[in-house]
């Protein structure tokens, strides 16, 4: 393929329909005829019909597009990076974090700080773990680097707080033990949103 072909590879194959804008009249007689045809064509009533139909559909056929936000929420994409969640192991219920400290190391805004110790079985456990959401830029490196899929980004995006430094403790982000069966596995950064099937459309470009 030559460069010229490559540049024009999408031109003229999409079946564009050109709008029929007609020709602007020049003579007075043609102007008058255009005025009369437009005046009696009833295009204004077409406009009324469109809005009237929209109102009828919205009222009686449930075609209302308002999302009453605090009471109902749109499904959020799994790619969205919101407040972190700490996941548990589904079998035992103990938390997945092994205290390796990779998330603390990789955090580019230095908002994760953790402290670990050895427990009585000489296994490492997390004694302190906080994320400062006043500093966090939600880059997602911590979730990406975690070898155990312990820290992930959850769906909680309402993170307004009274102070700039909003700390979140390990226990706050940890899946509650009684809600273990509701724990969602993290789909990963390439995942599609739950309502992806509804949103799918045919691509307009003909390759």
């Amino acid at each position: 393929m030559s460069l010229e072909q490559f540049k024009n590879r999408n031109v003229g194959v999409q079946n564009y329909t050109t709008l029929d804008v007609g020709v602007s009249p020049t003579t007075n007689k043609a102007k008058f005829v255009q005025f009369i045809t437009r005046a009696v064509k009833g295009e204004l009533f077409v406009g009324l019909w469109v809005t009237g139909k929209a109102m009828f559909k919205a009222l009686f056929q449930g075609d209302m597009h308002t999302v009453k936000y605090p009471f109902e929420k749109m499904p959020i994409s799994p790619r969205y990076r919101a407040i972190h969640d700490m996941l548990r192991l589904l079998e035992s219920g103990s938390y997945r974090c092994i205290g390796c400290g990779l998330c603390e190391k990789i955090c580019i805004s230095n908002c994760i700080s953790m402290d670990t110790r050895y427990d009585e079985n000489q296994r490492k456990e997390v004694s302190e773990y906080t994320i400062n959401f006043g500093r966090c830029i939600f880059c997602g490196y911590c979730a990406e680097v975690c070898p155990e899929l312990a820290i992930v980004h959850g769906p909680r995006y309402e993170n307004a707080s009274e102070q700039r430094a909003g700390f979140s403790l390990f226990e706050d982000m940890l899946t509650p033990i009684d809600k273990l069966n509701l724990q969602q596995e993290y789909d990963g950064f390439g995942a599609i949103s739950p309502n992806a099937d509804e949103n799918i459309k045919q691509t307009p470009l003909a390759y």
């Binding site: 204004l44 406009g47 009324l48 469109v50 809005t51 009237g52 929209a54 109102m55 559909k57 919205a58 009222l59 075609d63 209302m64 597009h65 308002t66 009453k68």
Partner: protein, 348 residues
């Protein structure tokens, strides 16, 4: 003398007129507030939204919330404004809108039922004053209402306000001739300027005036939209072009009075269109043995009010020069031809 309040009430006594005036003021200003709610709701539905929902059931108390907001807002008067004119301009708009309604009959005359304590059996003509020049008075008052925007725009020392005032003048010069000429043809048929005579004429003929005078009806509707400053002709305060036009510097209740006036004018135009062109109230329209003329005219008024909102949701608005072109070069000749033909028919 033994004269009680009840004896003073019928017809033209000052007590009756006073009561009616207070009723008009109370009901119409409440309806004007309610009109803003209806407008927001209808526009929302046509755009597939819900509109106000949170204050009261289905947002019904939104008008109360808006009212409290308007009353408690700071009333700012610009430093370089002509303060006296700035202050009275909203009053002109609101007052003329209510004065216009005093000569408009809305319901058939009725007698207060006997079982109501003090007032039972009193005959009530449902018009504050049945002027023999009713139509001229109402149209004149509504036209005088445009002095509100004009003075407001010129007094506020704001460039957007000046543009709004200039547009008011353009609009005023454009539609006024069409309003008068379009309604002249029905007047020639009826031979009276009183609204009551219009109603009775259509009752006697058995046909609505809009079928006798379709051209006059359409012309009057177009001019009415321009007169009430509604969407195809909302040049005065079109936000996308002139910020808020004549109302740019207004805040609080002064701003609110402009809008009470505008919505009262919408109601007035709806009432005039219903009475002059769509049969009005007809006290002898019966349904199951009850006179339903009052209900029908309410439906007609509601239809015209809804039409204004519907048009606002559907149509784009035009430029001031287009409005002038339309009114002087298209509508006025049409109105004159209509008058000529009507005159020939009446003469023959």
């Amino acid at each position: 003398m033994g004269e009680t309040v009840v004896d003073l009430l019928p017809e033209v006594t000052w007590v009756g007129v006073l009561i009616k005036a207070v009723l008009i003021l109370a009901i119409i200003s409440a309806l004007a507030g309610f009109g803003t709610f209806i407008e927001r709701k209808v526009l929302a539905f046509m755009q597939r939204r819900l509109g106000p929902m949170h204050v009261g059931p289905y947002g019904l108390l939104q008008i109360a919330a808006d009212g409290i907001k308007l009353f408690t807002k700071e009333d700012i008067i610009p430093q370089n404004a002509n303060k006296f004119i700035f202050k009275i301009a909203p009053v002109i708009t609101a007052a003329t809108a209510f004065i216009a309604l005093s000569a408009v009959p809305v319901f058939p005359d009725f007698t207060i039922p006997e079982f109501i304590p003090v007032l039972g059996g009193v005959f009530v003509p449902s018009i504050a004053s049945d002027l023999n020049i009713g139509i001229l008075f109402v149209l004149g008052m509504m036209a005088a209402g445009l002095y509100g925007p004009l003075l407001a725009g010129m007094s506020q020392a704001n460039k957007w306000g000046i543009i709004g005032a200039a547009r008011t003048a353009v609009q005023f010069l454009s539609y006024e001739v069409v309003t008068g000429l379009s309604i002249l043809a029905p007047i020639m048929l009826v031979g009276s300027l009183s609204f009551v005579d219009f109603n009775n004429y259509q009752h006697d003929e058995g046909v609505w005036m809009m079928f006798y005078q379709p051209v006059a009806f359409v012309l009057f509707l177009i001019a009415g939209f321009a007169e009430t400053n509604r969407t195809p002709f909302d040049l005065l305060e079109h936000e996308a072009e002139v910020v808020s036009g004549y109302a740019t510097e207004y805040s609080g209740m002064r701003w609110g009075m402009f809008f009470i006036g505008e919505y009262a004018n919408m109601i007035t135009i709806s009432v005039i269109a219903s009475i002059v062109f769509m049969g009005g109230y007809n006290p002898e329209t019966m349904l199951f043995g009850f006179s339903i003329g009052w209900l029908l005219i309410m439906l007609k008024i509601a239809f015209f009010f809804f039409l204004m909102l519907w048009v606002r949701a559907s149509w784009p608005h035009i430029r001031p020069d287009q409005l002038m072109w339309l009114c002087w070069k298209v509508l006025m000749p049409l109105a004159l031809i209509n008058i000529l033909i009507t005159a020939l028919v009446v003469m023959v």
